[in-house]
C-alpha cells in the first residue's frame, strides 16, 4: 500500500514522466484503434505491430546505438511496408487476406528476430535494452523517450480530433463517402499512417508482440457500453489510459516484469467484464433480459387464455385447474406451473386447492392482451389486406410488445372496432 501512495504522489520526476507517458501512449493508441476496430482491421493492426521489429533492428544497425529518431524511422518504414505488402499480395494473387496477414506478420517478425539475435551476438554493448521493444518496459523510458513518444501520442490525438468526421465516415460507409466527394484514398492513407504512428509510439511501453491488444481491446470493450461513437472513443481512451497507468505502476513495483503483458492483462480483464456484464449488450445481461422476456410472454399467454375461457363461459372468475388450461392450449406443465406461481405473486391470480382464478387486476390484464391480439388482427386484415386465417401467428408475437402509446394509436386508427376478423368480441374496459 505504501508503494502505491509513493507511486501516486509522483514525488520522483521519473515516475511522473513514465506514468504520464504510458497513459498518453495507451489512450492515444486506443483512440486510433477505435477506427481500426470499426473498419474490421484488428488483425492487420497485429501484423503491423509485429512488423515494426525488423525496422527497429535496422535503425539500430544503422545508428550503432539506440537513437530514438532512427529507431522510430526504421519502425515506421517496415510497419508501413508490411501494410502495403499485405494489400498487394491479397489484391494481386489468389492468396486470401487472412493468409497474407499471417504470412507478413510471421515473416517480418522472423526477420526481426534474426536481426535482433545477430545484433545481440555482435557484441555491441549499446544493444542492451533493445529487447525491451519486444514486451515493453515503461520504466526503461528516459525523459527524452517520454518527450518523443508522448509528443507523438499528442499529435495523434489532435489529428484524430481534427479529422473526426472524415474518419467516422470512412469507417462506416466508404461508398457514401466516395459519392459525396471525400478523398477516401487519401483519408485511408492518413488513417493507416496514424495507425503505424500509434504502434511505433506504443512499442516502448507495450512492446511489438502485444501492441495490437492496446489498439483493439479498449475499442472492443467500449463498443459494448455504447452505440455513440464519441462516447465509445472516450471510453476506449479511458480504458487504455487506465491500463497504461496500471502498467507503469507494475513496472515500478516489479522491475523484473515486462510491462506489456500486464497492460494487456488489465485491458483484457476490462474487456471480458464488458463482454459479459455490460448492460444491454453483455452476454449475461442479454441472457437475463431474454429470460425475462420469455417469462413475460408465458405469463401474458396464460392471462390471455384464462380471459378467453372466461369469455366463452361468461364467467371470468371461475376456478380452473392446470388440466383445464392445457386442454385448450398444450403448455409445458412445468413452465405453466411456474408462470402461474409468478402471476399469483404479481397479484393477477388467486389459488385455491390447485385451482386458479383471476383477480380483478388479472382479469383486466387478460382483457388487454386479448384486445391487443384482436386489434392487431383487424389492423392486418384491414390495412395490409392479409386473409383472416393468416393473421393469428403475427398477432401472437406482436401482442407482447405493443406499448400503451401504440395501443391508443391503433384504437384510434381502427375506430374502436367491436369484432375481430374471426367475429369474436374485442373487449374494452
Amino acid at each position: 500500500m505504501g508503494q502505491l501512495w509513493e507511486f501516486l504522489s509522483f514525488a520522483e520526476p521519473n515516475i511522473r514522466y513514465v506514468t504520464f507517458g504510458s497513459i498518453l501512449l495507451c489512450s492515444s493508441a486506443a483512440v486510433v484503434g477505435s477506427f481500426i476496430f470499426l473498419k474490421k482491421k484488428a488483425l492487420v493492426g497485429d501484423a503491423v505491430a509485429h512488423s515494426v521489429l525488423p525496422g527497429v533492428c535496422l535503425g539500430f544497425i544503422l545508428a550503432g546505438n539506440k537513437n530514438p529518431i532512427l529507431l522510430i524511422a526504421g519502425a515506421f518504414v517496415t510497419g508501413w511496408l508490411s501494410l502495403v505488402t499485405i494489400d498487394y499480395i491479397s489484391a494481386r494473387s489468389k492468396i486470401k487476406e487472412d493468409t497474407a496477414i499471417g504470412l507478413i506478420l510471421s515473416v517480418f517478425f522472423g526477420i526481426g528476430i534474426l536481426l535482433l539475435t545477430y545484433i545481440q551476438h555482435s557484441g555491441n554493448a549499446a544493444q542492451s535494452g533493445l529487447d525491451h521493444f519486444l514486451f515493453g518496459k515503461a520504466a526503461a523510458m528516459v525523459s527524452d523517450d517520454v518527450n518523443i513518444f508522448g509528443g507523438m501520442a499528442f499529435v495523434l490525438i489532435i489529428a484524430v480530433a481534427l479529422l473526426f468526421k472524415e474518419f467516422t465516415l470512412i469507417s462506416f460507409d466508404v461508398d457514401f463517402a466516395k459519392t459525396i466527394g471525400f478523398p477516401v484514398k487519401g483519408l485511408e492513407l492518413v488513417l493507416t499512417t496514424l495507425t503505424v504512428f500509434a504502434i511505433v509510439a506504443g512499442i516502448q511501453a507495450i512492446g511489438v508482440v502485444l501492441m495490437a491488444a492496446i489498439l483493439i481491446t479498449p475499442a472492443a470493450a467500449a463498443r459494448f457500453w455504447t452505440n455513440n461513437l464519441r462516447k465509445m472513443i472516450f471510453l476506449a481512451a479511458a480504458f487504455g489510459g487506465f491500463s497504461g497507468l496500471a502498467g507503469a505502476y507494475i513496472s515500478y513495483i516489479a522491475p523484473a516484469m515486462p510491462t506489456g503483458p500486464w497492460i494487456v492483462m488489465v485491458i483484457s480483464v476490462i474487456a471480458f467484464f464488458s463482454f459479459f456484464f455490460a448492460p444491454q449488450k453483455g452476454i449475461v445481461m442479454k441472457l437475463i433480459s431474454r429470460r425475462a422476456m420469455a417469462h413475460q410472454i408465458q405469463e401474458e399467454n396464460v392471462l390471455k387464455l384464462l380471459f378467453q375461457l372466461g369469455q366463452e363461459d361468461k364467467n371470468y372468475f371461475q376456478q380452473r385447474s392446470v388440466g383445464d388450461i392445457q386442454a385448450r392450449r398444450p403448455f409445458n406443465t412445468k413452465l405453466l406451473l411456474s408462470a402461474l406461481e409468478r402471476l399469483k405473486k404479481q397479484g393477477f391470480l388467486e389459488k385455491g386447492d390447485d385451482r386458479w382464478q383471476f383477480t380483478q387486476a388479472g382479469q383486466k390484464k387478460g382483457a388487454r392482451m386479448v384486445k391487443l391480439h384482436r386489434l392487431w388482427e383487424v389492423y392486418l386484415t384491414r390495412y395490409l389486406r392479409i386473409a383472416p386465417d393468416h393473421v393469428h401467428e403475427d398477432a401472437e408475437t406482436i401482442e407482447h410488445i405493443i406499448t400503451p402509446d401504440l395501443e391508443a394509436k391503433l384504437e384510434k386508427l381502427l375506430e374502436y372496432p367491436v369484432k375481430d376478423p374471426h367475429e369474436s368480441d374485442i373487449p374494452y374496459l
Binding site: 476496430f37 474490421k40 482491421k41 484488428a42 488483425l43 493492426g45 509485429h50 499480395i89 494473387s93 489468389k94 492468396i95 486470401k96 487472412d98 493468409t99 496477414i101 499471417g102 504470412l103 506478420l105 510471421s106 515473416v107 517480418f108 517478425f109 522472423g110 526477420i111 528476430i113 534474426l114 536481426l115 535482433l116 539475435t117 545477430y118 551476438h121 529487447d131 519486444l134 514486451f135 508482440v209 502485444l210 495490437a212 491488444a213 483493439i216 481491446t217 475499442a219 472492443a220 463498443r223 459494448f224 523484473a256 516484469m257 515486462p258 506489456g260 503483458p261 500486464w262 494487456v264 492483462m265 483484457s268 474487456a271 471480458f272 463482454f275 449488450k281 453483455g282 452476454i283 442479454k286
Partner: protein, 298 residues
C-alpha cells in the same frame, strides 16, 4: 552431427506445421492458427508448473486443451457476444499470450522457459538434451523423438481423415449432406494444430511457428492447383527451409528459427513473382504479349 539433429528436428516441425497449415489457409483460418499458437503458451506454462518437466504428456494435453478452448472462446464471443471475428480473435489470443508471459516472469525460477524461448525457441540446444535410457544408453536428442512422433501422428491423422478433411474444407455443405460432421473435423483439426504448435514450441517458439504454418503452404498454393500435390510440395519446402535456414543462421550467428522464417518468406516472394501460372512477372509478360498481338492485329 549436431547440424544433422537440428536440421532433422527443424524438418519434422516444418512438415507437421506445413501440412496442417495447408488446411488452415484453404479454410481461411490462417489467423485462427496464429491465435492458437499464441494461446497455447499459458497451457504449456501451467502444465510445466504441475508436472515439473518439459517433455511430459501433461504438457501436450494441457496445451492441446487450451488450443481447442481458444477456438471455442473465439466462436463464443463472436456468436453470443456479437463481437466481430477479427476482434474476437485479436482480443482472445493477446490476452492468453499475455497471461503466459506473466506466468513465465512470475515463476521464472520454477519454469525452465524464458521470454526469448517463447519468441524464437532454442532449436540450437536440441543436440544437448539427450534421451538416455535407465541402462545408460544414449538414444539421441529428445526433441527429435518428440517432434518425430508428432509428425507421425499428424501424417496418420491426415491419411485416415483425408476424405473428411478434404470435403469439409472444400465443400462443407456437401460434407454435411453425406453425414460428415463439419464441427467434429473442425475441432479435430484445431486439436492437431495445437499439438503441432506445442511440439514445435521449444524449437521455434510461439510466433515463428506461424511462419511455418502459413508460408510453405501459401508458397505451394501459388505453384499448384492439385491439393495432394500442394501437401507434398509443402513438405519438401519445409525440409528445404530447415536446411537453408540453419546455414543462414550459422553464417551470421543469429537465431535459427528467425532464419527459417526469413527463408520461408523469401521462398514465398519468389513464388509470388515467378510462379509459372500466377506469378506477377509471368502475368505481366503475358499481358504484354497479348497487348502486342492485339496492337499488331489491328
Amino acid at each position: 552431427m549436431d547440424a544433422f539433429w537440428i536440421i532433422l528436428t527443424g524438418s519434422f516441425v516444418s512438415i507437421s506445421c506445413g501440412l496442417l497449415g495447408s488446411y488452415l489457409i484453404l479454410r481461411r483460418m490462417a489467423m485462427v492458427g496464429d491465435a492458437i499458437s499464441h494461446a497455447v503458451l499459458p497451457g504449456i506454462v501451467i502444465a510445466f508448473l504441475i508436472s515439473g518437466q518439459r517433455d511430459s504428456i501433461t504438457m501436450l494435453i494441457g496445451a492441446g486443451v487450451l488450443g481447442v478452448l481458444t477456438t471455442f472462446l473465439i466462436e463464443f464471443l463472436h456468436k453470443r457476444g456479437n463481437l466481430q471475428t477479427d476482434a474476437s480473435i485479436g482480443v482472445t489470443f493477446t490476452w492468453l499470450f499475455a497471461l503466459g508471459i506473466i506466468l513465465i516472469s512470475a515463476y521464472a525460477g520454477q519454469v525452465d522457459l524464458d521470454q526469448d524461448c517463447v519468441l524464437h525457441g532454442e532449436i540450437a540446444y536440441v543436440p544437448i538434451d539427450l534421451w538416455i535410457t535407465s541402462t545408460g544408453k544414449i538414444i539421441g536428442p529428445r526433441a527429435v523423438f518428440i517432434t518425430g512422433s508428432v509428425l507421425i501422428i499428424i501424417i496418420s491423422f491426415i491419411i485416415i481423415g483425408y476424405k473428411e478433411l478434404f470435403l469439409t474444407t472444400f465443400d462443407p455443405a456437401f460434407a454435411a449432406a453425406i453425414d460428415i460432421s463439419t464441427a467434429m473435423w473442425h475441432y479435430l483439426l484445431m486439436g492437431a494444430v495445437s499439438l503441432a504448435t506445442v511440439a514445435s514450441f521449444e524449437s521455434v517458439g510461439a510466433i515463428l511457428v506461424v511462419a511455418l504454418l502459413i508460408a510453405p503452404p501459401a508458397t505451394a498454393y501459388l505453384l499448384t492447383e492439385k491439393f495432394l500435390f500442394m501437401l507434398i510440395l509443402t513438405a519438401f519446402l519445409g525440409i528445404f527451409i530447415s536446411v537453408t535456414g540453419y546455414y543462414l543462421a550459422v553464417s551470421i550467428d543469429g537465431s535459427i528459427a528467425g532464419a527459417m522464417s526469413t527463408i520461408a518468406g523469401l521462398l514465398f516472394a519468389l513464388a509470388f513473382l515467378f510462379s509459372p501460372k500466377e506469378g506477377i512477372i509471368i502475368t505481366w509478360l503475358k499481358n504484354r504479349i497479348i497487348k502486342k498481338e492485339l496492337s499488331e492485329s489491328f
